[in-house]
Amino acid sequence: MDELVRELVPQVLGVLVRRGADFATAEDAVQEALVEAVRRWPGAPPDDPKAWLVTVAWRKVVDAGRSESARRAREERVREEPPPGPAEHEDDTLLLLFLCCHPALTPSSAVALTLRAVGGLTTRQIAAAYLVPEATMAQRVSRAKRTVAEAGVGAPGDLRRVLTVLYLVFNEGYTGDVDLAAEAIRLTRMLARESDEPEVAGLLALMLLHHARRAARWDEHGGLVPLADQDRSGWDTALIAEGVDILQAALARDRLGEYQAQAAIAALHCDAPSAEETDWPQILEWYDELLALTDSPVVALNRVVAVGQVDGPLVGLRELEPVPADVPRRTAVEAWLHERAGDLGAAHDLYVRAASAASSTAERDHLTRQAARLRGARG
C-alpha cells in the first residue's frame, strides 16, 4: 500500500487544492483520509482508491470549516464542483508541485514542502536527510504552507522554479536513509510524463547521466574519485542509455536550455570509454552554449577546464583570469592548470590553498592528496 499511497497522496491533494481548499486544510484532510483507508481497505478495498480518497478527504475539508463564512464559501464551491469520480485531471500532482515551488517560498522551504507534499516523505525522513532536528523541519514545512496559503493559488506556475527546486533536491542529496537523488529523479520523471517542455527532459537526462556514475564516484573509504580516475565499468549503462535517449529527443525539439546543455556535457563524459578518449572539443562547444545561456561564473570556471584540455594549460590559465576569485573551486582549477603546465611548485601551493577553501571534506581530502603527491614529485 505504501507505494500506492505515495503515488496517490499528491494527486488527491492536488484535487482538493484545485477545488479551493487551502493547502494546510487539504493536507490534514488527506492524512485523515489515509487513516480511514488503513482501517477500511484491508476488509473492503475500493475499486478506485484515488476516487475513494478524494471523496473521503473532501468531506474532511468541508467538515474542517470553522467559521460560518469559511463554511459557506466552501459549500458554495462544493455545489459548483462535479461529484468526485475517477475522471479527475491527470495533472493534479503537477498542480501540487507548482504550488510547493511557489515563487514566494525560499528554496529551502520549497524543497521541504515538495518532499513532504509531493514526495510523500515524512517530516522525520526529510529532517534526517538534511541533518536538522525533526522539529525544525516540521516548522519549515508548516511555515511554507502558511506562505503558500497567504500568497494564494491561481498564479500561473513557474516551471523554471520547479526545475530549480528539483535540481536542488538532486544536487544536494544523499545523506541519511532516504536517497534524495533517487527521489528527485522520481519526481522529475513524474513531471516529464505530464510536460512536453524540453528543459524538463533535459533536467531528467542530466540527473540520470550523473546518477549513472554515482557508484564509481566514491572509493571504499568514502573518498571522492575524480571523473578521470573513475572505474568506468562501474557506471550504470542502462541509466546512461536512457539519459542519452531522453536528451536526444529533447535536443531534437530545437529549444535549447541550460539543463539540456549540461546534460549534453554529462552525456559526452559518459560516452568516453576512457578519460583519454573524452571528446573535449565538443564538450568545450557545449560550455560555450551553456555560458551564453546562463552567464554563470561557475560555468565559466568549468569551461576553463575544457579549454585547458583542448588548447592547453597556458591558454586555460589566460582564460581563467577573468573568472572572479570567489568562485568555488577556482583555486583547484588553477592548481590543475599549473600542474599540466609543468610548474609543480606553484601547483602544490595552490592545491594546499584550494584544500583549505574546500566546501566539503571529500573535496578537501582529495585536494590535500593532490598537494601531497606533488610534494613527493618535487622532492
Binding site: S108, M137, F170, E172, L206, I265
Partner: protein
C-alpha cells in the same frame, strides 16, 4: 541550505567594552538570558535551528601517550586566550542570513540594557560535495 556554526568565545578578536557579567545587576542578567532564549525560539520558529550548547569554562587538554600508557592531560588553564563559551548551529539559505542571525545574537542586552556587541565567529560547515560538478 547551508549550516553555520555561530561560535561564542569568551574573548573575541578585540576585548569587549563591557564589564564581565558578575558585575551586572540581577535584572540585567535576567534580561540578557531572556533575550538569548528569544533568539533560539525565533530560530526554531523560522525552521533554521539545529543546535545550541554552552560548555563549561573548565576544560582539560588530553593526548595519546603511547600504547598501554594512560593519556597525558594538561590544564585546566585559567588564562586561555581561545576559550569557547558555547555555540549555535543554524541551517539557513545564505551566508547573509547567517551573518544577520549572528549580529542579532550579538545585540543581546548588557549593562543598562545596551547591546553588548560581542563578537560571534561564523564558520560554515563542510558539507557533502554536490552531485553535479562538471
Amino acid at each position: 541550505m547551508a549550516k553555520y556554526l555561530l561560535l561564542k568565545h569568551y574573548r573575541g578578536p578585540k576585548p569587549l567594552d563591557c564589564p564581565p557579567m558578575d558585575q551586572w545587576t540581577p535584572d540585567e542578567i535576567d534580561a540578557h538570558m531572556a533575550f538569548m532564549g528569544g533568539v533560539i525560539a525565533q530560530l526554531r520558529e523560522r525552521g533554521e535551528f539545529v543546535d545550541a550548547q554552552a560548555v563549561s569554562t573548565e576544560g582539560t587538554f588530553v593526548r595519546f601517550d603511547g600504547e598501554g600508557r594512560p593519556p597525558v592531560t594538561d590544564g585546566p588553564f585559567a588564562e586561555t586566550k581561545e576559550l569557547i563559551a558555547g555555540w549555535v548551529v543554524i541551517d539557513v539559505d545564505s551566508l547573509e542570513r547567517a551573518h544577520e542571525a549572528a549580529a542579532y545574537l550579538s545585540s543581546a542586552p548588557g549593562p543598562g540594557g545596551e547591546p553588548i556587541r560581542e563578537w560571534i565567529e561564523v564558520r560554515p560547515f563542510l558539507e557533502m560535495p554536490p552531485n553535479v560538478t562538471e
